[in-house]
């Protein structure tokens, strides 16, 4: 008898579901976000994208770490997990590796994903599991009230770093590319419909899809209100040519929206079927038969 393998649940045929509406993904819980926070736009785009994608809420798992944006899972009707700071990606990887039938989405902010979770970000790009990673980047630690994050401008003045931290901001898209990501995109919370379309593309991508979302913080970075003037369509979308993609990202001003890079690389495979029993494995230990 074959032993019980990592199991999946039967995936119902897409037609079995009534057409889904964004409201089917809306839990009704009141977000803790400040008025004007970009994350509202991301939540709305995500709900629209999930409805368009067509998988019901109980087949979706949203995983997050710590920070304002990491509160998102509870605002949806999906399965979710709100873990510790910086560890959303490995948790999500565990979900996907154990249950390839589930739609897995990791969400969080720039501090969570690029600072404390930076190592996991690099390795999630390498691992290329079939999941979506949505980073709501406001270039500040909002929940702890305004400290510079890895994407904050070097001269941004704050209580903890008067006159600015003086560090070059991290370019998460270039890091993702260097780490082997196969789908790299940038969205803007202020353009919710476009963002929803990007998310649908990411959900359909057979591998690790990384979407950096410019999502302004009205409490500590009100100047980001001006991002709606800065954003523009990405100059170039590059397929498969990593060298060209590096060059394009180096030339990028940080506000180009859309899919910047895609590479057809097979995603990490699911576990294979059982082909031995425990009793057969135990034979290895037998002596003096």
């Amino acid at each position: 008898m074959m032993e019980k393998a990592l199991t999946t649940m039967a995936k119902p045929a897409a037609t079995a579901h009534e057409a889904l509406a964004p409201s089917d993904f809306h839990s009704g819980a009141t977000p803790i976000w400040c008025p004007g926070c970009g994350d509202y736009g991301v939540l709305s785009a995500l709900e629209h994208a999930l409805a368009a994608h067509g998988r019901p809420p109980h087949e979706v798992v949203l995983v997050s770490g710590i920070g304002c944006s990491s509160r998102l899972p509870a605002y949806t009707t999906c399965y979710g997990f709100h873990g510790v700071h910086g560890r959303a990606l490995p948790f999500a990887a565990g979900v996907k590796m154990a249950r390839s039938d589930l739609e897995v989405i990791a969400v969080g902010g720039d501090g969570d994903g690029y600072s404390i979770g930076g190592n996991h970000f690099v390795h999630a790009c390498r691992r290329n599991l079939d999941m979506l990673y949505l980073v709501m980047d406001n270039r500040v630690y909002g929940m702890t009230k305004g400290q510079p994050s890895p994407t904050t401008e070097a001269d941004w003045d704050s209580d903890i770093a008067p006159g600015g931290l003086g560090l070059r901001p991290l370019d998460p898209l270039a890091v993702a590319l260097a780490a082997g990501a196969t789908f790299i995109a940038r969205g803007f919370s202020g353009r919710s419909h476009e963002l929803a379309d990007l998310i649908v593309e990411g959900l359909r991508w057979p591998g690790f899809a990384f979407i950096e979302v410019l999502s302004p913080c009205m409490a500590f970075r009100s100047e980001q209100f001006g991002w709606k003037e800065s954003v523009h369509p990405a100059l170039r979308a590059i397929d498969n040519d990593r060298a060209a993609a590096h060059a394009a990202l180096l030339a990028d001003d940080g506000y180009g929206l859309g899919i910047l890079f895609k590479e057809g690389r097979a995603p990490a495979s699911a576990a294979s079927a059982a082909r031995a029993s425990l009793a057969e494995i135990e034979e290895e230990f037998a002596v003096c038969r």
Binding site: M97, A98, A274, C288
Partner: protein, 576 residues
């Protein structure tokens, strides 16, 4: 004329020692496997430094007509494959004036670190006489196989099990290598005929047995319990556990994920478990230190997980390759906030299977992290065991929704609440590490905080291990209370003391936390003197027992750091 012992010995303890690469471990495994195939019990411990190549290495082999559960007080035979690194561990291998040193005179005289034991050195040319030094240099030295053959033959092991042992020890080497070694083994067996050395063992009692390490036994137990996902990061002395397990998981339709660090490993485990798969991580002290935050998350969000810690010398990087029992405190208390968890410790290599399986059932049924404290001495000891053993009653995770509206973290008479698998329609829930209300929404109110902390604490407090708490062995008004790799040596010491009219009990804990207070009280009933024995400097278990009033205030502590194993004579001396 050969001096034969009047009575054949019931046990034989042999050391094969040399510099790294000399093949000490292969020699030891060859002899142990041969003895096991011939029907003897045995155990081989490995003594080595941190170097991958070129350090010191010694295989410590005990063979007996009875089960071997600890390292011996002294070794009968020390086989020097070379003398290059012997000073680095000579002091850690007990020899005395009745021990024999077997050494090739071509390697030079017996160095003082060994000679001071007054052990008698027997010169013995190791290696095929017809092989020239040049051939030896070109084709490698097979001194180890030659020596193992000679020792095995003197112990009375027939040629067939010795050849079988060689084949197993070499694994999948090329045909040429296998043939050369087989010839060398035969040469060793032949050379033994002229050796003035009586190692003759009493006849064995053959039966179908298993030869395995404690690490393999934990892995097997976990897989029996249903673990099909492992997330881990390499760390000595836990790596061989996961290296053995990875291909087995593949055969079973599971998988092992090599994480980027221990933080990722434990989070992958929680993720897989949240998704519905029994999951485990395997580490040692430094890795456990990195995992404690997420273990607290597992407690708070109520996610099953098994965390195996194969303990080594600490703190910091400590002694990676050698044993200690100094993670008791971090296993029980590690982490911030109130985060009670279950901590188990296997009572023997054989029990690693049972405890590994039971840990999975407890994690799944109580929806909480369970830590299994093994140690290097158990984990890396190749041991012959009787495989037929009782198994724990399977317990499963509660996933089915009730008729009442679903609240993942409902505060009810039963603290164990349903956790539906993702994919279940109508069962959606958000696992939450923040203080949360009954539905899992984060709140910061005092009432919800107290209610949820109480819910989780009750799961642990109401857990009753029954007769699986541990074991009381022997009788008497003196009791050694211990755990893990110390148990075998304690029982051996107690046996000896009982033979001299001083009965001693050995009380062994399988459940370190929550302490099985009632069972302990019963096990210690009538005891006037309690000695808590553990392998760490700070008496971590002793203080844990005192804090819970599990032992009387006048109980004694016998705590010392590793890495040297507890040996029966040391324990008997301490009790005298």
């Amino acid at each position: 004329m050969r001096k034969e012992q009047a009575v054949a010995r019931s046990s034989l303890a042999v050391v094969f020692a040399g510099s790294g690469g000399a093949g000490a471990m292969t020699a030891g495994e060859l002899l142990l496997r041969a003895a096991a195939e011939a029907g003897y019990y045995g155990m081989m411990s490995r003594l080595f430094g941190p170097q991958v190549r070129g350090g010191e290495a010694a295989a410590l082999v005990s063979i007996s007509t009875h089960p071997v559960t600890c390292q011996p007080d002294r070794y009968d035979l020390f086989v020097a494959l070379d003398w290059e690194k012997v000073d680095q561990f000579g002091a850690e291998i007990p020899l005395d004036e009745t021990s024999i040193v077997l050494a090739d005179p071509r390697q030079g005289p017996t160095p003082p670190s060994i000679a001071k034991s007054k052990a008698r050195t027997i010169p013995f040319a190791m290696g095929h006489a017809e092989v020239t030094p040049l051939e030896r240099a070109l084709h490698g030295k097979h001194t180890n196989v030659f020596a193992a053959g000679a020792v095995g033959a003197r112990a009375g092991l027939p040629s067939a099990p010795l050849q079988k042992g060689l084949a197993a020890a070499l694994g999948s080497k090329s045909g040429a290598v296998t043939r050369t070694n087989a010839a060398e083994l035969d040469a060793g067996i032949a050379a033994a005929a002229v050796l003035d050395l009586d190692l003759r063992l009493a006849p064995p009692q053959p039966a179908a047995r298993w030869l395995m390490t404690g690490n393999q036994a934990v892995a097997l137990g976990a897989m029996r319990g249903g673990v099909r996902f492992v997330g881990c990061y390499p760390i000595t002395p836990a790596t061989d556990l996961v290296e053995w397990m990875a291909p087995q998981l593949q055969k079973l339709g599971g998988r092992l994920a090599l994480a980027e660090d221990e933080l990722a490993a434990i989070n992958m485990v929680l993720g897989a478990s949240y998704a519905g798969a029994p999951a485990m991580t395997v580490t040692s002290g430094p890795g456990l230190s990195l995992m404690v935050e997420t273990i607290g998350l597992g407690v708070a969000a109520e996610i099953p997980a098994v965390i195996v810690d194969v303990m080594r010398g600490g703190p910091s990087t400590g002694i990676p390759s050698k044993t200690e029992q100094s993670d008791v405190s971090i296993a029980i208390h590690g982490g911030h906030g109130d985060a009670p968890r279950i901590v188990l410790a296997p009572t023997s290599v054989r029990d690693c299977m049972f405890t590994g399986e039971w840990a999975v059932y407890l994690a799944e049924s109580l929806q909480t992290p369970v830590i299994v404290l093994s140690d290097q001495a158990l984990g890396q000891a190749y041991t012959v065991i009787d495989p037929k053993t009782h198994r724990p009653q399977p317990l499963a995770r509660r996933t089915r929704l009730g008729s009442e509206p679903f609240k993942r973290y409902a505060v009810d008479s039963d603290p164990i609440t349903p956790m539906p698998r993702p994919g279940t329609a109508g069962g959606q829930w958000v696992g939450e590490g923040l203080t949360h209300n009954e539905t899992g929404i984060p709140v910061s109110g005092a009432a919800a905080h107290a209610a949820q902390i109480d819910k989780r604490a009750r799961k642990i407090a109401e857990f009753d291990p029954g007769h699986l708490w541990g074991e009381a062995w022997g009788e008497g008004e003196t009791a050694i209370l211990t755990f893990g790799s110390g148990i075998g040596a304690a029982q051996k010491a107690a046996q000896r003391l009982a033979a001299t009219g001083h009965p001693v009990r050995v009380v062994s804990l399988r459940v370190l936390s929550p302490l099985p207070l009632k069972a302990l009280a019963k096990a210690l009933d009538g005891v006037r003197r309690v000695i808590v024995m553990e392998q760490n400097h700070g008496a971590q278990l002793y203080h844990h027992l005192l804090a819970h009033r599990a032992i009387p205030v006048h109980a004694e502590s016998f705590a010392r750091p590793g890495p040297l194993p507890f040996r029966p004579a040391e324990i008997a001396t301490r009790l005298a």
